[in-house]
């Protein structure tokens, strides 16, 4: 059973003068035991998506299940298997960390003893044990975030939703798969590697030592490469799209050597997630992460 299924989710925010289609028909399937990174520019619909899947918002159209529970009809069962950590640390500032965790545990329907035990475990795990009995108001931002995350884990959820700003490198490392969302639609989906090759594949960059040898180097790249080369005059750097990875790199090094062309540097370059993002949306990313476990 997939952890998350979504079909044609639509959410429209209406005000007197405007209509914003926050979600405009989102389809998504996330397998159990995987981490999905939901990335997109500001206002792309990431938070709306998380809020709908965690039952905080109702969609205007479409349907979705989380852990097999319908987000509208079975909202209460759904809530007992998820943990949510939102954009700000949603903890009670006037309680201690231990009291916060105990409270959330109770509201998660653990009994008082279980709740206390689980709170103790999490305080240990999140390195909050020394500050456990201090009022949260005195906590630093980082400590609050840790407590917030611990609160999301109090009921040992099967799915964890994290709605927070994430760096692309983090997403690249943590997420098994990535969905890129823009203007309320999922515009790309796959592993980081799949998305990268989808966007433009690999390129080979050569920095030629002697400006006079540029012409001959261009000829070789035109022959060996799989597309039009580009020259950066200033740095004497030639870039050419190339398929064939490391093998192609070796071939170009050999051909340049045979032609007696000295090089300062040569590299096989893969696109980063930043490149992917820019190519797909035309905007820089501000990612949010949604994780399913």
């Amino acid at each position: 059973m997939p952890a998350i299924t979504a079909e044609g989710l639509v959410k429209i925010y209406r005000s007197r003068h405007s209509e914003v289609h926050a979600l405009d028909g989102v389809d998504l399937v996330v397998e159990e035991g995987t981490v999905l990174g939901l990335l997109g520019p500001n206002g792309a619909g990431k938070t709306t998506m998380v809020r709908i899947l965690t039952t905080l918002l109702r969609p205007d159209a479409g349907h979705a299940t989380v852990a097999g529970f319908d987000i509208v009809r079975e909202a209460q069962q759904l809530r007992s298997v998820i943990g949510l950590s939102g954009q700000y640390a949603a903890v009670d500032e006037n309680l201690t960390a231990r009291e916060n965790l105990w409270m959330f545990g109770r509201l998660y329907q653990l009994n008082s003893a279980e709740s206390r035990k689980r709170a103790g475990e999490l305080l240990e795990q999140f390195d909050l044990i020394d500050a456990a009995d201090r009022v949260v108001k005195t906590y630093s931002g980082g400590m609050r975030r840790r407590l917030d995350l611990a609160s999301a884990l109090i009921g040992r959820p099967r799915l964890l939703f994290l709605d927070e700003p994430t760096y692309l490198e983090e997403a690249d490392e943590l997420a098994d798969t990535i969905a890129v969302i823009d203007r309320g639609k999922v515009i790309a989906r796959g592993t980081a590697d799949e998305l990268k090759s989808q966007v433009g594949g690999e390129r080979i960059e050569v920095v030629v030592h002697d400006r006079a040898a540029l012409d001959r180097a261009e000829e070789i790249l035109a022959r060996d490469g799989s597309g039009q080369w580009v020259l950066d005059e200033h740095t004497r750097k030639l870039t050419v799209p190339a398929t064939g990875g490391a093998g192609k790199l070796i071939e170009i090094v050999r051909d340049l050597g045979d032609a007696g062309i000295a090089i300062d540097d040569i590299a096989l370059r893969r696109p980063t997630l930043d490149d992917v993002f820019l190519a797909l949306t035309g905007r820089a990313s501000s990612g949010d992460d949604e994780a399913a476990a």
Partner: protein, 262 residues
């Protein structure tokens, strides 16, 4: 049902914890009321003679109690809004808890809080010469009426807190609306001194009927008795007000809370 009960208890506990953790809130709430006592008992009081020579401080204190209870709405609205802003309402809504518990727990805690404030104020009143001249049952009946009214005011506060855009606005709205209501009443001055078109307003004002009812119950001076229903049956009119307020604002607050998922 069991879930609703335990979750409400947890939320109430959490709301009450705030009182010892931010003692300034309660201290200034009490100081504000005591300031009114001092202001009116010692500054303006001399200029407000009561017919039949009643004791102005005995006359004043029930009004101060009522005024304090009216401000329960502000406390609730601010607390509610604060929870919403800090993302706590979202967290509660994402938990498998009984949904009404958040609202009931807020109301229960705030009524309890006001009961505590009332006890301190009554002790202060005793110091400046206010007395209950009847008996314990009347004392308890009066306190019951005040707390019933506190319940109505917290119901308004729940709705208000969910409607206003920020804590500051919650505060501002409460004070701009509540201050005139407490002054357009029999709390500090005889309503007969008002312009004639305002007199019915002051007479039917629940703050007036609540004050008049407790004055009657405790044998405190209540010299300005109108001939209408609110003058003759202030306790009854107060209870009717409570029912009307609850019937209007409770569903509005609940609907507002539900519609957060719109």
């Amino acid at each position: 049902m069991n879930r609703t009960f335990t979750d409400t208890a947890v939320i109430t506990w959490r709301n009450l914890k705030r009182i010892p953790r931010i003692p300034e809130l309660a201290i200034f709430a009490i100081l504000q009321s005591i300031m009114f006592v001092v202001l009116f008992a010692f500054v303006f009081g001399g200029a407000i003679p009561l017919p039949n020579g009643g004791n102005y401080r005995e006359y004043l204190m029930p009004g101060i109690f009522a005024q304090t209870i009216v401000f329960a709405a502000a406390t609730t609205a601010v607390g509610m809004r604060d929870d919403l802003n800090k993302g706590l309402l979202d967290r509660f809504r994402s938990l498998p808890m009984a949904r009404p518990a958040v609202l009931i727990g807020r109301i229960a805690a705030d009524v309890t809080y006001n009961a505590g404030i009332l006890v301190v104020l009554m002790a202060s009143g005793y110091v400046v010469g206010w007395r209950v001249n009847t008996g314990l049952p009347e004392l308890l009946a009066g306190v019951g009426l005040l707390l019933l009214f506190a319940l109505a005011m917290t119901a308004i506060g729940v709705w208000l807190g969910l409607v206003v855009p920020s804590v500051e606005v919650a505060q501002q709205v409460s004070f701009t609306v509540l201050f005139p209501i407490t002054f357009l009443s029999n709390v500090f001055v005889p309503p007969q001194s008002l312009p004639s078109w305002l007199q019915p307003v002051a007479e039917w004002n629940p703050v007036s009927t609540l004050t008049a009812a407790t004055r009657d119950l405790w044998g405190n001076p209540n010299p300005y008795v109108g001939s209408g229903l609110p003058g003759q049956q202030p306790a009854l009119v107060t209870v009717l007000w409570v029912i009307v307020i609850l019937a209007v604002f409770l569903p509005m607050g609940v609907r507002r809370y539900r519609n957060m998922s719109r």
